[in-house]
Symmetry: C2
Subunit: 335 residues, 2 copies
Amino acid sequence: MTELRVVAPDGIGEVRTGDDLAALLVDRLAEGLTDGPADGLADGLADGLADGDVVLVTSKVVSKAEGRVVRGTRDELLPAETARLVASRGPTRIVRTRQGLTLAAAGIDASNVEPGRVVLLPVDPDASARAIRSRLRELTGRNVAVVVTDTAGRAWREGQTDLAVGAAGLRVLEDFAGRRDDYGNDLVVTAPAVADELAGAAELAQGKLGGRPFAVIRGRADLVLPPEDDGPGAVALVRPDGADLFGYGAREAVLRALLGDPDDAAAFGAPSEVTELVEVVARVGGTARVDDDAVVVSGDVSPDSLQALAFAHGWLVDVPDAGEGVRLRPRRTSP
Amino acid sequence: MTELRVVAPDGIGEVRTGDDLAALLVDRLAEGLTDGPADGLADGLADGLADGDVVLVTSKVVSKAEGRVVRGTRDELLPAETARLVASRGPTRIVRTRQGLTLAAAGIDASNVEPGRVVLLPVDPDASARAIRSRLRELTGRNVAVVVTDTAGRAWREGQTDLAVGAAGLRVLEDFAGRRDDYGNDLVVTAPAVADELAGAAELAQGKLGGRPFAVIRGRADLVLPPEDDGPGAVALVRPDGADLFGYGAREAVLRALLGDPDDAAAFGAPSEVTELVEVVARVGGTARVDDDAVVVSGDVSPDSLQALAFAHGWLVDVPDAGEGVRLRPRRTSP
């Protein structure tokens, strides 16, 4: 029988710049001793933190404590947080951030913050995790791991899960290379991203409505490293740029291929697909004009390029009658 | 204080075709009452299953119970399990399965099974979950949710996490549309994929070495639907084909764009990128030959097409001297 316990204390007040997150958690756990558990399930963490616990904290309160709340909107702040554009459709921008994460809107968060302000990701979430781990050890004498979590959508899946954007003192990947199952089969390719699974488990107890930014997971002390070893950090979970099969959306891949300049992809994100299409046609040597429900292309654009552009935008190509320009038309459903 | 408990009983023996998984779990939990918990953490599930528990079971043992273990290798069985190829590099094939899942090798699993055999995904994992849920209710009188889990890699991230491939009686997405945070900000786009987070939490207790195919998660009874309602199933977590920004790898996007036929993408997966490149050049109207470390292209291929092909393969284009063919060369590092 293997058992994990996931505890998310509530009643954590608003976090402000300069707050000591480790102290907030430790104080709240101490109060919990007298409150007793709200749901009658168990006795919670009756002695506070223990060696081998994993402490999880949302990046939002880490950012707030580190003064990363700024006035402005996502759209205004996106360029400064973006290393490069990965994919773009309508108002959605999926970008690779300066931290190496691939996140919608660069992880800029407009929820659980005063209207008119947004929360940026911590500058170095692994460093944030290390600092909290060190402080928890100072306050409690316990050796725990710390994970800084954020929320991300996934390719091919609906909804979001929480994942680890920072980590300290944790084996973030459980590596089975060289291990065998009971039948003697090698388990070479299996490497559970346990830091991300811990983050998801924490979210189930924390929820999204605020007030429970911390979680403590007990039962996987085998993943926690000795106090002097902060481990590889969550950066070890980031696939290197260029090593990923999905480093670009389909549209961005084709546009890059046609335009030839790796930096050009960042230029795309125009509010209108029509505007973008007209611009791209011009850059590959043709002219385009908007006519009712179609973009009409003329000039020296190869059939391959037209087909590529149509695919990139999920549009249809109308074969023209003699003397007319080729018509590119949006499909009824978005790509 | 919100608390979850995740319990994975061990000592589940080998599962064979026709086994009653619900009975296996119920019997094992009953034995656990006399064994006591192995790790001294807590009293486990002292009264067996309770209303509102979520029961998770790996797709592997569901497949075994349903007779989906077959003789052969992944490569041999991949075509029959594949709806279409999403991306391919070297020996890796990421495909959309007939169940609508996007998984490496179509989820065909060669671990924890006799050598020479592989385990295919259940034909209809939501139906499998419904059957197990119904049987658990019959055996225990309890109203639980059931999740069938599998392991998947993620775009942009190292390692794998477990996710829900089947579900019954569960709100798989926790929808906050219309809800507001404490500041009055709308939470319109937040929809935690709780079924996937539950699957990841279960994996942390189950591990990968076999013997713990079940987990029970207690503490989120709010996600469990009434007995007569099996809910939308895990199929609701699958983004519809064509609605995804990452429905193709960068290479596959460009090849599809150049070749124009949506079904052509499935043709790619040749053992050698050189072979593939030569074939594609021929199909867009040129001729190609292999010369040392390059593919030399001549004939009527537009510069745009050459650039697109080079990008798709992560290769470089050498601008030719007069009279020579264009040379496409692989980069030192893989794309």
